[in-house]
Protein backbone atom coordinates (compact mmCIF):
# COMPACT_ATOMS: atom_id res chain seq x y z
CA UNK A 1 0.00 0.00 0.00
CA UNK A 2 1.26 3.48 -0.87
CA UNK A 3 1.48 6.35 1.54
CA UNK A 4 -2.04 7.56 2.27
CA UNK A 5 -1.10 11.15 1.51
CA UNK A 6 0.12 10.11 -1.93
CA UNK A 7 -3.27 8.57 -2.66
CA UNK A 8 -4.95 11.71 -1.39
CA UNK A 9 -2.75 13.94 -3.57
CA UNK A 10 -3.59 11.92 -6.69
CA UNK A 11 -7.31 11.90 -6.07
CA UNK A 12 -7.35 15.62 -5.21
CA UNK A 13 -5.43 16.50 -8.37
CA UNK A 14 -7.69 14.46 -10.65
CA UNK A 15 -10.87 15.75 -9.04
CA UNK A 16 -9.75 19.38 -9.11
CA UNK A 17 -8.72 19.19 -12.77
CA UNK A 18 -12.11 17.75 -13.72
CA UNK A 19 -13.81 20.62 -11.94
CA UNK A 20 -11.66 23.47 -13.07
CA UNK A 21 -10.81 22.70 -16.72
CA UNK A 22 -14.14 23.58 -18.34
CA UNK A 23 -14.49 26.68 -16.14
CA UNK A 24 -11.10 27.99 -17.19
CA UNK A 25 -11.04 26.79 -20.80
CA UNK A 26 -14.55 27.89 -21.82
CA UNK A 27 -14.12 31.62 -21.35
CA UNK A 28 -16.65 33.01 -23.76
CA UNK A 29 -20.31 32.50 -24.42
CA UNK A 30 -21.20 29.45 -26.47
CA UNK A 31 -23.22 30.41 -29.57
CA UNK A 32 -24.61 27.05 -30.64
CA UNK A 33 -28.29 26.86 -29.75
CA UNK A 34 -28.09 23.10 -29.25
CA UNK A 35 -25.15 23.30 -26.85
CA UNK A 36 -26.73 26.19 -24.98
CA UNK A 37 -30.00 24.26 -24.71
CA UNK A 38 -28.10 21.20 -23.49
CA UNK A 39 -26.43 23.25 -20.78
CA UNK A 40 -29.75 24.87 -19.89
CA UNK A 41 -31.46 21.51 -19.33
CA UNK A 42 -28.44 19.86 -17.72
CA UNK A 43 -28.83 21.04 -14.08
CA UNK A 44 -32.47 20.01 -13.88
CA UNK A 45 -31.87 16.59 -15.40
CA UNK A 46 -28.77 15.84 -13.37
CA UNK A 47 -30.26 16.96 -10.05
CA UNK A 48 -33.42 14.93 -10.76
CA UNK A 49 -31.37 11.85 -11.56
CA UNK A 50 -29.37 12.25 -8.35
CA UNK A 51 -32.44 12.84 -6.18
CA UNK A 52 -34.58 9.90 -7.16
CA UNK A 53 -34.52 7.09 -6.14
CA UNK A 54 -31.45 7.99 -4.00
CA UNK A 55 -33.60 9.81 -1.43
CA UNK A 56 -35.45 6.55 -0.76
CA UNK A 57 -32.17 4.76 -0.04
CA UNK A 58 -30.67 7.51 2.13
CA UNK A 59 -33.07 6.90 4.99
CA UNK A 60 -33.63 3.90 7.21
CA UNK A 61 -36.92 3.04 5.52
CA UNK A 62 -38.13 3.82 2.00
CA UNK A 63 -41.35 5.19 3.46
CA UNK A 64 -39.68 7.90 5.49
CA UNK A 65 -37.65 8.86 2.43
CA UNK A 66 -40.84 9.02 0.38
CA UNK A 67 -42.45 11.23 3.04
CA UNK A 68 -39.44 13.54 2.88
CA UNK A 69 -39.68 13.66 -0.91
CA UNK A 70 -43.41 14.50 -0.87
CA UNK A 71 -43.13 17.28 1.72
CA UNK A 72 -40.12 18.76 -0.09
CA UNK A 73 -41.92 18.80 -3.45
CA UNK A 74 -45.05 20.30 -1.87
CA UNK A 75 -43.20 23.08 -0.05
CA UNK A 76 -40.96 23.84 -3.03
CA UNK A 77 -44.06 24.05 -5.23
CA UNK A 78 -45.52 26.55 -2.76
CA UNK A 79 -42.37 28.61 -3.12
CA UNK A 80 -40.76 28.06 0.28
CA UNK A 81 -37.04 28.82 0.57
CA UNK A 82 -34.28 26.31 0.00
CA UNK A 83 -33.57 26.24 3.71
CA UNK A 84 -37.19 25.64 4.81
CA UNK A 85 -37.73 22.91 2.23
CA UNK A 86 -34.56 21.17 3.29
CA UNK A 87 -35.15 21.36 7.04
CA UNK A 88 -38.81 20.34 6.72
CA UNK A 89 -37.74 17.20 4.85
CA UNK A 90 -35.21 16.35 7.58
CA UNK A 91 -37.70 16.90 10.40
CA UNK A 92 -40.41 14.86 8.73
CA UNK A 93 -38.06 11.97 8.00
CA UNK A 94 -36.92 12.00 11.62
CA UNK A 95 -40.51 12.08 12.91
CA UNK A 96 -41.73 9.33 10.58
CA UNK A 97 -38.84 7.07 11.57
CA UNK A 98 -39.43 7.79 15.24
CA UNK A 99 -43.18 7.23 15.32
CA UNK A 100 -44.17 5.14 12.32
CA UNK A 101 -41.41 2.95 10.94
Amino acid sequence: MHDVYLYIAVMAAVTYLIRVLPLTLIRREIRSVTVRSFLYYLPYVTLSVMTFPAILDATNSEWSGLAGLVIAVALAWKGFSLFSVSVAACVLVFAVELFVC
Binding site: Y7, I18, R19, R36, N60, A76, G79
Partner: protein, 264 residues
Protein backbone atom coordinates in the same frame (compact mmCIF):
# COMPACT_ATOMS: atom_id res chain seq x y z
CA UNK B 1 -34.42 45.78 -8.80
CA UNK B 2 -33.08 42.50 -7.56
CA UNK B 3 -29.45 42.51 -6.41
CA UNK B 4 -27.10 39.80 -7.60
CA UNK B 5 -26.59 37.18 -4.93
CA UNK B 6 -23.46 37.84 -2.91
CA UNK B 7 -21.32 36.26 -0.22
CA UNK B 8 -23.90 36.40 2.58
CA UNK B 9 -26.63 34.91 0.38
CA UNK B 10 -24.21 32.13 -0.45
CA UNK B 11 -23.56 31.49 3.24
CA UNK B 12 -27.28 31.35 3.95
CA UNK B 13 -27.96 28.91 1.13
CA UNK B 14 -24.91 26.96 2.26
CA UNK B 15 -26.48 26.10 5.63
CA UNK B 16 -28.69 23.23 4.42
CA UNK B 17 -25.71 21.96 2.44
CA UNK B 18 -23.60 22.08 5.58
CA UNK B 19 -26.23 20.09 7.51
CA UNK B 20 -26.38 17.40 4.89
CA UNK B 21 -22.61 17.36 4.46
CA UNK B 22 -22.12 16.92 8.17
CA UNK B 23 -24.31 13.83 8.22
CA UNK B 24 -22.78 12.26 5.13
CA UNK B 25 -19.18 13.07 6.07
CA UNK B 26 -19.74 11.68 9.56
CA UNK B 27 -20.50 8.28 8.03
CA UNK B 28 -17.53 8.81 5.71
CA UNK B 29 -15.36 9.40 8.79
CA UNK B 30 -16.55 6.15 10.33
CA UNK B 31 -15.61 4.35 7.10
CA UNK B 32 -12.17 6.03 7.18
CA UNK B 33 -11.67 4.84 10.72
CA UNK B 34 -12.61 1.32 9.67
CA UNK B 35 -9.78 1.13 7.12
CA UNK B 36 -7.33 2.56 9.65
CA UNK B 37 -6.96 6.16 8.51
CA UNK B 38 -6.02 8.78 11.08
CA UNK B 39 -8.25 11.77 11.77
CA UNK B 40 -5.66 14.05 10.18
CA UNK B 41 -5.50 11.98 6.98
CA UNK B 42 -9.28 11.79 6.70
CA UNK B 43 -9.68 15.52 7.30
CA UNK B 44 -7.04 16.41 4.71
CA UNK B 45 -8.72 14.08 2.23
CA UNK B 46 -12.12 15.71 2.78
CA UNK B 47 -10.78 19.26 2.58
CA UNK B 48 -8.81 18.64 -0.59
CA UNK B 49 -11.42 16.52 -2.38
CA UNK B 50 -14.84 17.70 -1.22
CA UNK B 51 -16.72 14.86 -2.87
CA UNK B 52 -18.69 12.07 -1.25
CA UNK B 53 -18.87 9.32 -3.88
CA UNK B 54 -15.24 9.83 -4.88
CA UNK B 55 -13.97 9.65 -1.31
CA UNK B 56 -16.04 6.60 -0.41
CA UNK B 57 -14.71 4.81 -3.49
CA UNK B 58 -11.15 5.90 -2.67
CA UNK B 59 -11.33 4.14 0.68
CA UNK B 60 -11.87 0.80 -0.99
CA UNK B 61 -8.94 1.44 -3.33
CA UNK B 62 -6.61 2.44 -0.50
CA UNK B 63 -7.66 -0.51 1.63
CA UNK B 64 -6.95 -2.86 -1.29
CA UNK B 65 -3.56 -1.21 -1.79
CA UNK B 66 -4.26 -0.66 -5.48
CA UNK B 67 -2.04 1.39 -7.77
CA UNK B 68 -2.13 5.16 -8.01
CA UNK B 69 -3.28 4.82 -11.62
CA UNK B 70 -6.27 2.88 -10.49
CA UNK B 71 -6.99 5.61 -7.97
CA UNK B 72 -6.73 8.30 -10.64
CA UNK B 73 -8.95 6.38 -13.05
CA UNK B 74 -11.64 5.68 -10.47
CA UNK B 75 -11.78 9.34 -9.48
CA UNK B 76 -12.00 10.34 -13.13
CA UNK B 77 -14.96 8.06 -13.76
CA UNK B 78 -16.81 8.78 -10.54
CA UNK B 79 -16.32 12.54 -10.65
CA UNK B 80 -16.69 13.09 -14.39
CA UNK B 81 -20.13 14.59 -13.82
CA UNK B 82 -18.39 17.64 -12.33
CA UNK B 83 -17.02 18.34 -15.77
CA UNK B 84 -20.55 18.70 -17.15
CA UNK B 85 -21.46 20.94 -14.23
CA UNK B 86 -18.35 23.01 -14.76
CA UNK B 87 -19.30 23.50 -18.44
CA UNK B 88 -22.71 24.67 -17.35
CA UNK B 89 -21.22 27.08 -14.78
CA UNK B 90 -18.79 28.46 -17.36
CA UNK B 91 -21.82 29.85 -19.17
CA UNK B 92 -23.39 31.13 -15.98
CA UNK B 93 -20.41 33.35 -15.15
CA UNK B 94 -19.77 36.62 -16.91
CA UNK B 95 -17.35 35.99 -19.81
CA UNK B 96 -14.90 38.53 -18.37
CA UNK B 97 -14.64 36.80 -15.00
CA UNK B 98 -10.91 36.74 -14.13
CA UNK B 99 -8.96 33.49 -14.06
CA UNK B 100 -8.38 33.42 -10.30
CA UNK B 101 -12.14 33.49 -9.68
CA UNK B 102 -12.54 30.56 -12.07
CA UNK B 103 -9.78 28.63 -10.32
CA UNK B 104 -11.39 29.23 -6.93
CA UNK B 105 -14.96 28.49 -8.02
CA UNK B 106 -13.65 25.24 -9.51
CA UNK B 107 -12.83 23.98 -6.02
CA UNK B 108 -16.49 24.35 -5.05
CA UNK B 109 -18.06 22.41 -7.92
CA UNK B 110 -19.92 19.77 -5.92
CA UNK B 111 -23.40 18.50 -6.76
CA UNK B 112 -24.92 20.76 -4.14
CA UNK B 113 -22.90 23.95 -4.52
CA UNK B 114 -23.25 23.65 -8.29
CA UNK B 115 -27.00 23.24 -7.78
CA UNK B 116 -27.43 26.49 -5.89
CA UNK B 117 -24.85 28.41 -7.97
CA UNK B 118 -26.52 27.61 -11.26
CA UNK B 119 -29.85 28.55 -9.70
CA UNK B 120 -29.14 32.22 -8.90
CA UNK B 121 -30.96 34.71 -11.08
CA UNK B 122 -28.81 36.25 -13.80
CA UNK B 123 -25.06 35.87 -13.80
CA UNK B 124 -23.20 34.03 -11.07
CA UNK B 125 -21.19 36.30 -8.79
CA UNK B 126 -18.26 34.11 -7.64
CA UNK B 127 -18.65 35.50 -4.13
CA UNK B 128 -22.00 33.71 -3.84
CA UNK B 129 -20.24 30.39 -4.42
CA UNK B 130 -17.49 31.37 -1.96
CA UNK B 131 -20.10 32.04 0.71
CA UNK B 132 -21.57 28.58 0.26
CA UNK B 133 -18.13 26.94 0.20
CA UNK B 134 -17.10 28.74 3.41
CA UNK B 135 -20.04 27.17 5.25
CA UNK B 136 -20.20 23.79 3.54
CA UNK B 137 -16.53 22.76 3.20
CA UNK B 138 -15.61 23.16 6.91
CA UNK B 139 -18.71 21.19 7.82
CA UNK B 140 -17.67 18.42 5.39
CA UNK B 141 -14.17 18.31 6.90
CA UNK B 142 -15.38 18.54 10.50
CA UNK B 143 -17.92 15.77 10.00
CA UNK B 144 -15.22 13.52 8.54
CA UNK B 145 -12.89 14.28 11.42
CA UNK B 146 -15.52 13.66 14.09
CA UNK B 147 -16.57 10.45 12.36
CA UNK B 148 -13.01 9.14 12.74
CA UNK B 149 -12.60 10.34 16.31
CA UNK B 150 -16.00 9.48 17.70
CA UNK B 151 -17.18 6.55 15.58
CA UNK B 152 -20.74 5.42 16.07
CA UNK B 153 -21.96 7.92 18.66
CA UNK B 154 -24.58 9.77 16.65
CA UNK B 155 -27.81 7.81 16.44
CA UNK B 156 -28.17 6.47 12.89
CA UNK B 157 -31.69 7.82 12.83
CA UNK B 158 -30.38 11.35 13.19
CA UNK B 159 -27.73 10.82 10.53
CA UNK B 160 -30.33 9.41 8.11
CA UNK B 161 -32.66 12.36 8.70
CA UNK B 162 -29.88 14.92 8.20
CA UNK B 163 -28.65 13.30 5.02
CA UNK B 164 -32.04 14.05 3.45
CA UNK B 165 -31.18 17.77 3.66
CA UNK B 166 -29.20 17.47 0.42
CA UNK B 167 -32.10 15.93 -1.50
CA UNK B 168 -34.50 18.47 -0.04
CA UNK B 169 -32.25 21.13 -1.46
CA UNK B 170 -32.13 19.57 -4.91
CA UNK B 171 -35.92 19.48 -4.89
CA UNK B 172 -36.12 23.13 -3.82
CA UNK B 173 -33.97 23.95 -6.85
CA UNK B 174 -35.74 21.93 -9.54
CA UNK B 175 -39.41 22.22 -8.56
CA UNK B 176 -40.11 26.00 -8.72
CA UNK B 177 -38.98 26.37 -12.38
CA UNK B 178 -41.02 23.27 -13.26
CA UNK B 179 -44.07 25.05 -11.98
CA UNK B 180 -43.60 27.82 -14.52
CA UNK B 181 -42.47 25.59 -17.37
CA UNK B 182 -44.43 22.42 -17.99
CA UNK B 183 -41.83 20.96 -20.33
CA UNK B 184 -39.21 21.25 -17.61
CA UNK B 185 -41.57 19.51 -15.22
CA UNK B 186 -42.03 16.63 -17.63
CA UNK B 187 -38.30 16.42 -18.14
CA UNK B 188 -37.76 16.18 -14.38
CA UNK B 189 -40.34 13.40 -14.04
CA UNK B 190 -38.81 11.57 -17.00
CA UNK B 191 -35.32 11.91 -15.52
CA UNK B 192 -36.46 10.52 -12.19
CA UNK B 193 -38.28 7.63 -13.83
CA UNK B 194 -35.23 6.77 -15.95
CA UNK B 195 -32.98 7.04 -12.91
CA UNK B 196 -35.28 4.72 -11.00
CA UNK B 197 -35.10 2.15 -13.81
CA UNK B 198 -31.31 2.43 -13.97
CA UNK B 199 -31.06 1.96 -10.22
CA UNK B 200 -33.52 -0.90 -9.91
CA UNK B 201 -33.21 -3.02 -13.06
CA UNK B 202 -30.59 -5.77 -12.71
CA UNK B 203 -29.27 -5.29 -16.29
CA UNK B 204 -27.79 -1.93 -15.29
CA UNK B 205 -26.21 -3.29 -12.14
CA UNK B 206 -22.65 -3.31 -13.49
CA UNK B 207 -22.69 0.43 -14.25
CA UNK B 208 -21.32 2.55 -11.40
CA UNK B 209 -23.48 5.22 -9.80
CA UNK B 210 -21.38 8.08 -11.15
CA UNK B 211 -21.52 6.67 -14.67
CA UNK B 212 -25.29 6.30 -14.49
CA UNK B 213 -25.63 9.98 -13.66
CA UNK B 214 -23.48 10.92 -16.64
CA UNK B 215 -25.20 8.61 -19.11
CA UNK B 216 -28.69 9.74 -18.13
CA UNK B 217 -27.75 13.41 -17.99
CA UNK B 218 -26.14 13.40 -21.43
CA UNK B 219 -28.91 11.34 -23.02
CA UNK B 220 -31.86 13.23 -21.59
CA UNK B 221 -30.43 16.77 -21.73
CA UNK B 222 -29.13 16.02 -25.22
CA UNK B 223 -32.47 14.74 -26.47
CA UNK B 224 -34.26 17.70 -24.92
CA UNK B 225 -31.78 20.13 -26.50
CA UNK B 226 -32.37 18.62 -29.95
CA UNK B 227 -36.15 18.28 -29.65
CA UNK B 228 -36.85 21.48 -27.73
CA UNK B 229 -34.04 23.94 -28.41
CA UNK B 230 -34.12 26.95 -26.14
CA UNK B 231 -34.40 29.88 -28.50
CA UNK B 232 -33.55 33.47 -27.89
CA UNK B 233 -31.21 34.39 -25.15
CA UNK B 234 -32.96 32.05 -22.71
CA UNK B 235 -33.14 32.28 -18.99
CA UNK B 236 -30.15 34.29 -17.89
CA UNK B 237 -30.18 36.77 -20.73
CA UNK B 238 -33.91 37.30 -20.28
CA UNK B 239 -33.14 38.23 -16.71
CA UNK B 240 -30.49 40.77 -17.63
CA UNK B 241 -32.76 42.30 -20.23
CA UNK B 242 -35.50 42.69 -17.67
CA UNK B 243 -33.09 44.24 -15.21
CA UNK B 244 -31.94 46.75 -17.79
CA UNK B 245 -35.53 47.52 -18.61
CA UNK B 246 -36.03 48.13 -14.93
CA UNK B 247 -39.77 48.63 -15.13
CA UNK B 248 -41.07 45.14 -14.45
CA UNK B 249 -38.40 43.73 -12.21
CA UNK B 250 -40.83 42.30 -9.68
CA UNK B 251 -39.67 38.75 -9.04
CA UNK B 252 -42.79 36.91 -10.20
CA UNK B 253 -43.10 38.93 -13.38
CA UNK B 254 -39.53 38.12 -14.21
CA UNK B 255 -39.93 34.45 -13.53
CA UNK B 256 -42.94 34.27 -15.82
CA UNK B 257 -41.03 36.10 -18.50
CA UNK B 258 -38.15 33.67 -18.20
CA UNK B 259 -40.48 30.74 -18.70
CA UNK B 260 -42.06 32.32 -21.76
CA UNK B 261 -38.75 33.25 -23.34
CA UNK B 262 -37.49 29.77 -22.88
CA UNK B 263 -39.66 28.10 -25.48
CA UNK B 264 -40.47 30.88 -27.86
Amino acid sequence: MEQTRGFLDGMRDGIPIALGYFAVSFTLGIACRNIGMSAAQATVMSLTNLTSAGEFAALGIMAAGSSLWEMALSQLVINLRYMLMSCSLSQKMAPDTPLFHRLLVGYGVTDEIFGISVNVPGRLDPRYTYGAVCVAAPSWALGTCLGVVLGNVLPMRLVAALSVALYGMFIAIIVPPARRDRLLGLLILLSMAASWLFARLPIFESISGGMKVIILTVLISGAAAVLFPVHGEAAKAAKTAKDAEGAKSVKDGKDAAEAEDTHA
